[in-house]
């Protein structure tokens, strides 16, 4: 796309330009950040429609903070991930209070799961396994291993210590390994 050429311009610079009424900057930010925001929300919520709502809401908050953005204090992406994390937490909380049964059963126990898995990719298997993790572990693991953030940045996003991040990701990975180990053969990861 035409705005790929702006990749060397930082998110913060684009946000400041947007704050000064630059429409091209808003288009570039939309193209650059919306996929990341949606990706993160999708993996935490496992619901495409809800993830889209969260992505739009998070981006809306970004547009609104632009005029007051304090440069050099936080990375735009870190701030945005934090907004998404909080929005997802709110959604999951509501989901729990409204329909607690819907998440009590992990999807891998659902009828027909085997047939579905034969055609499903590893990504799908991981997505399902992620849903079995406690929310904070899921957020930490997704940010670390899928979004590719460093531990200090994850600590900022989740507003916890770096040590807590390390603990969350370590436990999360152990749980994922356990959840996926039963499917190794189905997914082509036999003992060999």
């Amino acid at each position: 796309m035409a705005f790929d050429v702006q990749n060397e311009v930082s998110d913060e610079t684009l946000l400041v330009l947007y704050g000064n009424g630059d429409a091209a900057a808003s288009r570039a930010l939309t193209l650059r950040l919306t996929p990341r925001v949606l990706g993160y929300a999708s993996r935490i919520l496992n619901d495409p429609a809800e993830a889209e709502d969260v992505a739009q809401e998070a981006m809306l908050r970004l547009w609104r903070i632009a005029p007051e953005w304090r440069q050099g204090e936080a990375k735009v992406s870190t701030w945005l991930y934090r907004v998404v994390a909080n929005l997802c937490t709110d959604r999951l909380r509501k989901r729990r209070s409204v329909d607690i049964d819907s998440i009590a059963e992990p999807e891998d126990d659902a009828p027909g799961a085997e047939a579905q898995l034969q055609a499903a990719s590893r990504a799908k298997a991981l997505e399902e396994a992620l849903q079995t993790l406690p929310e904070r572990q899921r957020q930490a693991v997704v940010l670390r291993h899928i979004e590719g953030l460093g531990n200090p940045e994850i600590a900022e996003v989740l507003e916890i210590s770096v040590e807590a991040v390390e603990s969350l990701t370590a436990r999360g990975k152990r749980m994922l390994t356990a959840a996926l180990s039963g499917r190794r053969e189905e997914l082509g990861y036999g003992d060999g």
């Binding site: 947007y18 000064n20 009424g21 288009r27 981006m59 590893r122 390994t177």
Partner: protein
């Protein structure tokens, strides 16, 4: 042995993570359009223009503005000082100028008798 096993498991898990990264959800055109529409709707207009200060100008500032600022004041000061200098300095130079143009009084105003015999004629005529 346990370390090696954990390393293998990490590697295996990393394959799942890599697959998930490659399988990132792509935002629909509708979502992108909605996000962009929000950005346009919430775009701050003219935020880059610094508003004029509300503090009222003092007498000196208003005078300076009326004459065109500090450069104009510098010109005005120079002209004033030149006027003062011209007014107070000794007018010695003028004597030099007039002396150059006109002959000095002791040579320039000699009485020359152009018609010396006139008195004689009058006297003779009168006698």
């Amino acid at each position: 042995m346990v370390m090696v096993d954990m390393h293998d498991k990490d590697q295996e898990l990393e394959l799942f993570f890599a697959a998930a990264r490659d399988d990132a959800p792509v935002p629909s055109d509708d979502l992108m359009a909605r996000v962009f529409a929000d950005s346009v709707e919430n775009m701050p207009s003219g935020a880059g223009i610094v508003p004029a200060p509300l503090v009222k100008d003092g007498v000196v500032t208003r005078f300076l503005k009326a004459i065109g600022g500090w450069p104009a004041l510098a010109g005005l000061a120079t002209a004033t000082m030149a006027g003062v200098w011209i007014g107070y300095s000794a007018p010695a130079g003028l004597a030099t100028v007039t002396g150059g143009v006109l002959a000095s009084s002791d040579t320039g105003y000699d009485i020359v008798d152009l018609i010396p015999s006139m008195d004689g004629f009058l006297m003779e005529g009168g006698a």
